[in-house]
């Protein structure tokens, strides 16, 4: 079994694309404070939670069943508890910087982090 030249090119290009994409993520990823978490369900915006040091909030989405318990604490956010079968949202753990996100497919919930305000030109040049 031997790799052909096309195999190597394919693997190389996909690898470069993946690494480039991750690099782009890192570059976009801003560590600036003043971020907030946007929670949406079925594509509809539900809640906006500020992520700043010292702020704590717990939020329950859904009813007695089909719920996600979201916890924001000290500038980070996670799904603390959910009764979905796969628990992927809970296992995603804490997120704290844009563009990280937590997705709960069974309940169509997306939690994503965005900067509260767009970066000012003055801030960049300074």
């Amino acid at each position: 079994m031997r790799f052909t030249r096309a195999d190597k090119w394919l693997i190389g290009l996909l690898f470069a694309g993946a690494v480039g994409g991750i690099g782009l993520n890192m570059a976009v990823l801003s560590t600036a404070s003043g971020q907030e978490a946007h929670i949406s369900k079925n594509g509809q915006p539900m809640e906006t939670i500020p992520l700043r040091p010292g702020y704590h909030e717990e939020l329950r989405l859904g009813g007695a069943t089909g719920y996600n318990l979201v916890e924001a604490d000290n500038g980070r956010i996670r799904v603390k508890e959910a009764d979905c079968p796969d628990q992927l949202c809970v296992r995603s753990g804490w997120i704290r910087v844009s563009p990280q996100q937590i997705v709960c497919l069974p309940y169509r919930v997306v939690i994503k982090i965005e900067s509260a305000r767009p970066a000012d030109v003055d801030e960049i040049t300074r």
Binding site: M1, R2, F3, T4, R5, A6, D7, L10, I11, L14, F15, G17, A18, V19, G20, G21, I22, L24, N25, S40, N42, G43, P85, D86, L88, R91, S92, G93, P99, Q101, V103, L105, P106, R108, V109, V110, K112
Partner: protein, 169 residues
């Protein structure tokens, strides 16, 4: 010959369904939800090489039905993701194997299948939650798809090379 083909395809569906279900039980030691080994892909490679794209598509669809019934996710979101990914990656691999056979080995075909599988799943998930931001996640899945795609391709090629001639028809 016809009976024999039915028996072979039945066997492949059974093997692929079990691999599909067992794979969902395996915990992967990496914090990337949705990442999988793609073991059932080995069977898709086999069927593409031995029988062609129609049978590969049929085996892929039946495999997801069987596997998701066994693992209890039938008709859930995981089932939608698995079905869309399995169908499109089976078609892509068949096309790659038939059209670019001289260029790509089975490893290349398998990597194409893994890549198409990931892109399809991310697209299906993005449609489900109505959020295009999920594509942010694609590079991480793609990075993992390369070693798993190469591994399933090598495994498939290894077994195909040692297939008894009675199975080859």
């Amino acid at each position: 010959m016809k009976t024999r083909r039915i028996v072979m395809l039945g066997l492949f569906v059974a093997i692929a369904g079990v691999l599909h279900a067992v794979e969902s039980w395996l915990p992967l030691p990496i914090p990337v939800p949705g990442a999988k080994l793609g073991l059932a892909n080995i069977v898709s490679l086999f069927v593409i090489v031995l029988f062609g794209w129609r049978d590969a598509l049929a085996v892929a669809v039946l495999r997801v039905l069987l596997g998701s019934l066994l693992s209890g996710v039938f008709l859930g979101p995981a089932f939608i993701l698995a079905m869309s990914g399995a169908v499109l990656s089976a078609l892509a691999m068949s096309y790659a194997h038939q059209t670019w056979r001289s260029a790509f080995s089975l490893v290349g075909v398998s990597v194409i299948g893994a890549a198409v599988h990931n892109i399809t799943q991310i697209t299906a998930a993005a449609i489900l939650v109505a959020s295009a931001d999920l594509y942010w996640y694609l590079p991480y899945l793609m990075l993992l798809a390369l070693p798993t795609g190469v591994a399933t391709g090598l495994t498939g090629a290894f077994f195909l090379a040692r297939l008894p001639s009675s199975v080859r028809e």
